[in-house]
Symmetry: C2
Subunit: 576 residues, 2 copies
């Protein structure tokens, strides 16, 4: 059948196995064409194609509930549930998001983007079903990589106590985003090598019945396995051995590079070269130098080495000083505290959106203990990731209000390196260094200072009006100042350096100014500007606090979002 | 020997086994006397007494590193490491904190109070040791109850991959704070019942060698076991079967009540009755009524039923609508989202300090998905728990800056119930209802309103000066207003109701006032007052933002802390 005739899972339920295999082949072809044209999560979707077809063939969604972990592997699910056109017609490629999205379809149960949540979310659906006396299957899909996350463990541990239908499909492609890390993966290897028969068995230790599918890309095996567990009266794990990137040779070979990939040539896998230097490269190169200089320096990632500039080559170069704990942000942060206590110089590199998983560890394991861990957030601010599940707006309100953590926002390459250098050289406190996003800025300044003592940097002196531009928004402050100068004003421009504390001496000098404008590249609520407004609240100066909105903006365009918040030089200039 | 002659572990190392047993008996007697007089963590310390003696006999702290989970079981450790007087001399009872504390002793490695962190912290010490080429043992002590926390799993999963010495002592007393929940506990039962021989074995599945000690209160068995693993070249779990409350009959019988207990009669276990009604009772009674009225209502706790008013009797009454997920805050929050999606009315009751473990789940699993989960924080504000590891100051800055969550701060019993009622009756959004701490306040007002639409409550009209008193601090606002009236002023008093959004219509009316004073029972940074100051920043009104400090205050006295922040009626009155 023409895959464009598939509008819901009902359309494939009557098909013979050969027809189903042809549907798989045609969907794979369409998927590769779209991925090559637009980029996306290549490996996860190609590897889980047959399993998705088998799931929708055997289970009856949306009555049966299928919850995808991360949901970066849900493209085929979208194709089968009314959204085929978004994968076969280039004019409609942008119709769907890259994750499950309840606003798109009733088949999508949750808006998901972080890892390790599917079992917990599905356990809630199962518990609700049981309390309400309903009867349907609940299926949680989770990749091997996500199993290292604490939330996945907590979900597995609890859901199997319910004593009712609960099916966990483990999509084991022997990879996380990058290689897996954790002893659990030795157990999965043991299970694969023993055709699922070996002990110990992690899943059985948590109360699950267990079924192993040796070829998780073989449609018939998958259908048979899912039919076996459908209607199960207890908890069961179906462990699928799948091939990440299946059917696209370059993705099968280069599994890490093709986990997520931008547009590429489908035949060769080649993509347009991007030679522009960015802050991530600056960070990675700096860290390599720092590790070579001092064997006590260690760089820690929670499963996202590539996102912090450490692909295979740099990892090799860093050797044992580069530590990937797998997708386990709590462990990354708490272990870093222990390493600092043990005399090392740990640096945790983490996308701003993912460090959210470790609020309590930042507060308890690190901050109360005053351990000198350096946290480097990346993809922060308006030019970070633009999916509502991956926003980089909230690291400042989340972390800067925790006591004892110094939160630094560098404004240029020189200041970025100076702050990293200072933080790694001190033993007094945990520090966050927020990596700017966007084009690399270079400028001269007095950056080699003691950040435990120094105050704001006055970038240009002025009078009556002060613009305080934090981090990447110092450039916006300078542009706004330039516009004001055209209007005949002489604004002061300030780099506040700190998101977590105030330079009251400098702020006191602004008390008899007419206007103070604060600009910050993060959600304005709970941020720096509100602190400044409160501090200056009893003086006559007018304070305008500008920043990103407190909302889950989704697939936004940075320029549009900035304009909607008044964050353009023109709009800022019009405030005075 | 006289236990007062023990100043360090060296003092017990030469003792014969009978002498050691006498030391144990004498320490137990002293411990019970102090616990009876002062209260504290009764069961955990009595049950881990022999194990602590054996640990310090076999290992050589502080060169060898012993990390205690929660560290509520570290009293005997303190007795053996230079702090005996704090347990034998009533005049010195207050010299030590209830948790490990590096400011007290080099034997205390971390300031700890939340659960499930010891393995991760210890793994950092082990990794630092390995990177630095040092050689000593690293021992993580963890209770069975803490094993359900995701951070503990992440730590176990990672630490065993290091391929170096790492010893995990599992203190299995078959209890969490309350009964355990999770399939893992069936596995522990299986292991105990098989003398450690059964498969599956959770610890082996994570790569650990495994040693079982059937009588974890038998000093000789413990010493033998620890000697066996000391110097181990790989990861090993020593699983101890201990008796919580050992040696104090009332604590052995009433394990939940005597996990933590106030002062009591050592012979009978009786303690002075406290008949004063509090908000926790209000909450628990309200929830029981709500659950009886609607079978879709479910109350969820993450291992602390007693802390939310649900001791055994109320749990029995609630039946299956009361769900304890064990110590697993991430699971509690994410499961609640799934339950809401499945049509239930989930309420998560959680001490303000512990909900920190679930920032990401609040944001991702709940808020992005707009699921109508009601979160009730307890022990919030200055009158919550006073250890630096258990502060209730930070729930407002942490949660109120997450998009999409309505954060309500009731000011009295009537408003508290009305907010709970409203929240559980709507399906649009997640809501936090912050339980006031301190004496129950009753007052009349218009509380049965639509909290998705309504604005601030003007409690008393006035002019020129407005005092905005949030939550429990409305009373302080009223007292301050009374003082101002004595001075001839006529202040407006406002209950803002919301910590997460502004009533701009009411605030606009204050633009031509002389002074606005905001009072909030939480860390002032990232809180409500700063938002109000920013909103009013471009108007001439003076704004004073008052609240609790952004610091890890430790064992503070509420009245003193309030005075230090200017949070007295006198100090507030002096602002105008």
């Amino acid at each position: 059948m023409d895959i464009n005739a598939i509008h819901s899972p009902a359309d494939i339920k009557g098909l013979a196995i050969d027809e189903l295999k042809q549907v798989c082949a045609d969907m794979r072809k369409a998927l590769i064409a779209k991925l090559a044209a637009r980029g996306g999560h290549v490996g996860p979707n190609l590897g889980f194609l047959e399993a998705t077809v088998a799931l929708h063939l055997v289970f009856d969604a949306p009555q049966d509930k299928i919850v995808f972990d991360v949901s970066h592997q849900s493209y085929v699910h979208k194709m089968l549930t009314g959204r085929m056109q978004a994968f076969t017609d280039p004019a409609h490629y942008a119709d769907v998001s890259g994750y499950t999205n309840p606003d798109e379809s009733d088949y999508d149960l949750f808006s998901v983007g972080h890892t390790s949540t599917s079992v917990s979310l599905a356990s809630g659906l199962a518990k609700a079903r049981d309390l309400k006396g309903e009867h349907h299957d609940v299926v949680a899909v989770i990749g091997d990589g996500s199993l290292s996350g604490g939330e996945a463990f907590e979900g597995l541990d609890m859901a199997s106590t319910f004593g009712s239908n609960f099916i966990v499909v483990v999509n084991d492609n022997q990879m996380s985003i990058a290689p897996n890390h954790g002893a659990l993966y030795d157990n999965l290897t043991l299970l694969r090598e023993s055709d699922g028969k070996a002990e110990p068995n992690y899943f059985k230790s948590l109360g699950y019945d267990y079924l192993y599918v040796a070829d998780g890309n073989d449609l018939e095996s998958l259908i048979a396995a899912f039919r076996k567990v459908k209607g199960s009266s207890g908890p069961v794990v179906v462990h699928l051995n799948t091939e990440k990137g299946m059917g696209l040779p370059v993705a099968e070979i280069h599994k890490e590079a093709f986990h997520y990939h931008g547009p590429f040539d489908a035949a060769t896998g080649e993509s347009p070269a991007d030679d522009s230097a960015d802050y991530i490269d600056l960070f990675a190169d700096y860290m390599l130098r720092a590790m070579k200089r001092d064997s006590n320096v260690a760089l820690i990632t929670a499963g996202v080495p590539g996102a912090i500039g450490f692909g295979p080559a740099r990892r090799d170069e860093a050797g044992r000083q580069f530590i990937d704990v797998g997708i386990a942000e709590e462990q990354a942060v708490a272990m870093a505290s222990g390493m600092a206590k043990g005399g090392c110089i740990p640096v945790v590199g983490e996308p701003a959106t993912f460090i959210q998983r470790a609020y309590d560890q930042l507060s308890q394991d690190v901050a109360i203990n005053r351990q000198p861990v350096t946290f480097v957030t990346l993809y922060a601010g308006v030019r970070g990731m633009t999916d509502c599940t991956h926003l980089g707006f909230f690291d400042v309100p989340m972390i800067s209000n925790i006591p004892g953590i110094l939160f630094l926002a560098p404004t240029c390459a020189e200041e970025y390196e100076a702050m990293l250098e200072w933080s790694m050289g001190q033993r007094e406190m945990p520090v966050v260094v927020r990596t700017p996003c966007g084009p690399v800025v270079n400028r001269e300044g007095d950056f080699d200072v003691d950040y435990s003592r120094c105050g704001y940097e006055v970038v240009s002196e002025g009078e009556r009006v002060a613009i305080i531009g934090a981090g990447a928004f110092l450039e916006l402050a300078r542009q706004s100042a330039a516009k004001m100068i055209e209007k005949g004003l002489n604004p002061m421009v300030i780099n506040p350096r700190f998101m977590s504390r105030l330079d009251t001496a400098t702020l006191d000098k602004l008390r008899d100014f007419d206007t103070v404008i604060t600009l910050e590249d993060n959600s304005v609520d709970g941020g720096l500007g509100q602190k400044i407004a409160a501090y200056l609240g009893d003086s006559p100066v007018k304070v305008h606090v500008l920043g990103l909105p407190k909302e889950f903006a989704d697939r936004y365009r940075p320029a549009e979002l900035l304009a909607s918040c008044g964050l353009t030089a023109e709009a800022i200039c019009s405030l005075v």
